[in-house]
């Protein structure tokens, strides 16, 4: 036998992208470009509507990561929205920090708050964990209502000196021929777009990584994942802290744009938890595409139905219950199952290629 005998070998490749997702990636790039350039042509109302859509989607992606993947069903994320908002006000009004610069700082501080919060709240399980997070949010709300320097129970507004110090306003004013408040909205819009895109990218990269595999395993069957050596506690802690930071930054943006804050609004269960949960559940929990669908649907509903007040909320509640009972995977779940679509490819596929190569005998 000569040493150079050919022996067919096979090589393997792991792929995540598929044809539909490659098309979606290209489309996403185009959409992003369009969104960035949109302020040049869109009216102020549309810009404000889109800011709302973007930050609700960012919040929804965070909650989805928390509840749909890590199994941490929190009814208290409003704690970090409010904390983020108040921190922004504190940093800018009391600390004189530039508003845009303050946002990442807010994220960091929220992460620091989230750590001890998690250590306490993680002592509870399941539905009790959920209510526990709500209690924490209430504690934050009541605590901030005591801060007279930030307006106490009635809240406070951002001083004009702060709102006009947002960088880029002059540039937008001249480039797009707008007045200062509209220009400020445009800046907020770009920040919101950046936060949303950043959150999407962050969640996507996490879920694609090895940690993401672990999260998927936890989502599917926690006990089995633990049995395979996944460090559940560590991962849940990391997810909780990371989403707290992201949620806090979104909260900072929201209240920078609103320029007015109060404890009841900043820590509202309805605005920052109920609506977010609705978006994720109706869109499709445990997938990345679901919250996108849910956010768009929610935006449309808010736009056309919010005037109906209590009836609108009854409709939302009923819809949520019906989806939970009869279509637990949400709208995206129904579509994806029918057509096998994935826009954010995460499944790993083994691609086998056979080839003849020269290889030495072992």
């Amino acid at each position: 036998m000569d040493a150079g005998a050919t022996k067919p070998t096979r090589s393997f490749r792991i792929e995540t992208a598929g044809r539909s997702s490659r098309a979606a990636a290209a489309a996403a790039g185009v959409i992003l470009l369009v969104l960035v350039l949109l302020p040049a042509v869109a009216g102020r109302n549309m810009i404000q509507d889109l800011i709302f859509l973007f930050y609700m989607l960012a919040l929804a992606q965070c909650w989805n990561l928390l509840a749909g993947y890590a199994g941490l069903i929190s009814v208290g994320q409003q704690a970090f929205v409010g904390l983020g908002g108040y921190l922004l006000f504190a940093l800018t009004l009391l600390g004189g920090v530039n508003p845009l610069l303050a946002i990442p700082v807010v994220g960091l501080v929220c992460a620091l708050f989230a750590l001890p919060t998690a250590l306490i709240v993680f002592r509870l399980r399941g539905a009790y964990f959920a209510i526990g997070t709500w209690v924490v949010a209430e504690i934050y709300r009541l605590a901030f209502a005591q801060f007279k320097t930030l307006g106490g129970g009635t809240g406070t507004s951002l001083a004009p000196s702060v709102t006009s110090s947002v960088p880029g306003i002059e540039w937008v004013k001249t480039m797009l021929d707008m007045r200062a408040p509209a220009a400020r909205d445009v800046i907020s819009y770009w920040v919101a777009l950046a936060l949303m895109a950043g959150t999407l990218a962050f969640v996507y990269l996490v879920l694609r990584s090895r940690r993401g595999l672990a999260l998927g395993a936890i989502r599917d069957n926690e006990a089995a994942a633990a049995g395979l050596g996944v460090d559940i506690y560590r991962i849940k802690l990391a997810v909780y802290v990371a989403t707290a930071a992201a949620t806090g930054m979104v909260g900072a943006l929201i209240y920078l744009q609103k320029a007015r804050i109060s404890p009841d609004a900043a820590f509202s269960v309805l605005d920052w938890t109920a609506y977010v949960i609705f978006i994720v559940v109706i869109g499709g929990i445990g997938t990345m595409e679901g919250p996108v669908i849910g956010a768009i649907l929610f935006y449309l509903m808010e736009h056309y139905l919010a005037d109906f007040g209590a009836s609108y909320l009854i409709l939302l509640g009923t819809l949520g219950i019906l989806v939970m009972l009869f279509a637990p995977r949400g709208l995206w779940g129904l579509v994806a199952e029918r057509y096998g679509l994935t826009l954010f490819p995460m499944r790993r596929r083994l691609v086998v290629c056979g080839s003849e190569t020269i290889s030495p005998e072992a």
Partner: protein, 289 residues
């Protein structure tokens, strides 16, 4: 000194109300492992039912609640049978989100029907009656009745759970649903009955809620949090623990209020956190699970 003594007494009496809030939640969790996020709103709903019965039939609230009890039992039975039984299973999400949705529906439904106006259950002279204990301290008759009712409810629940066949069925179903079926227990019916009983307890809680203070459709969530805190402080699996938890919460609030009236609710929440950190299983948990 009398101020502090007064705070202690008021705290214990307030604890009776919180124990009543918590007893229903404790029962639901004990039998069905259901944590009902709409619990507080159901108490408010019950208060409105009693209000309607009292106003339409010209009844004193104490009599109106007797009329409301069977109505609420049926509502609870139906709610479990038709809706909540469908959410049972290993998955955590459905019961949580369905009850959350229910909470929103109830709040807004009540808003539609009754508006956001504050309501009160009028009971006449008894509302302000009090029993003087000497030294300038007096105990309100209604708060005292609240505490006594809480004790009575817990005695009743313990009796049902530990001395009756259906109580055995409750405990067995909660232990092992599959094997309970092998005993001939129809778990869906058992859960519905348990929910009906929980609604009766909720009705009693609503009676005292409505007499003690004003209520409106939006105060539900806060009551849920108090009920929840009382259950956790007391420890899961024990009805007497729930009473203790309610009293501890009540004391924490009144003592906090004594230091600064604005701190009342915050003090309660902080006491809850403290118990969670120091004794995560509560003060009087049952040995199992």
């Amino acid at each position: 000194m009398t101020g502090w003594l007064d705070a202690l007494i008021q705290g214990v009496l307030l604890g009776g109300l919180y124990a009543l809030f918590a007893a229903g939640l404790s029962l639901m969790f004990g039998v069905m492992r259901l944590v009902n996020l709409a619990h507080g709103d159901l108490i408010v709903l019950a208060a409105f039912v009693i209000l309607v019965a009292a106003e339409r039939l010209g009844l004193d609230p104490f009599v109106a609640v007797l009329v409301a009890l069977p109505v609420l039992f049926v509502i609870g039975f139906a709610l479990q049978h038709v809706l909540l039984n469908r959410t049972l299973g290993r998955d955590l999400l459905p019961p949580l989100l369905v009850t959350f949705g229910l909470s929103i529906i109830i709040q807004n439904g009540l808003l539609q029907i009754f508006s956001a106006d504050s309501q009160r259950l009028r009971a006449g002279a008894i509302e302000t009656a009090s029993i003087p204990l000497g030294g300038g301290i007096a105990v309100g008759v209604v708060p005292l009745l609240t505490l006594l009712s809480a004790v009575a409810v817990i005695v009743f629940l313990n009796l049902v759970f530990y001395r009756t066949p259906i109580g055995r069925a409750f405990r067995a179903t909660s232990d092992d649903l599959e094997v309970a079926q092998l005993m001939g227990i129809d778990h869906r019916r058992i859960f519905a009955i348990a929910m009906g009983i929980a609604f009766v307890v909720i009705a009693i809680a609503a009676l005292y809620l409505g007499m003690r203070a004003n209520f409106d459709p939006t105060i539900g969530p806060a009551r849920l949090l108090y009920a929840f805190e009382a259950v956790i402080i007391g420890g899961l699996g024990s009805f007497w623990g729930t009473l203790a938890g309610g009293i501890v919460l009540g004391l924490a609030q009144t003592i906090g209020a004594r230091i600064d009236p604005e701190w009342q609710i915050l003090a309660g929440h902080l006491a809850f956190l403290l118990v969670l950190v120091v004794r995560p299983r509560g003060l009087f948990p049952r040995a199992l699970d």
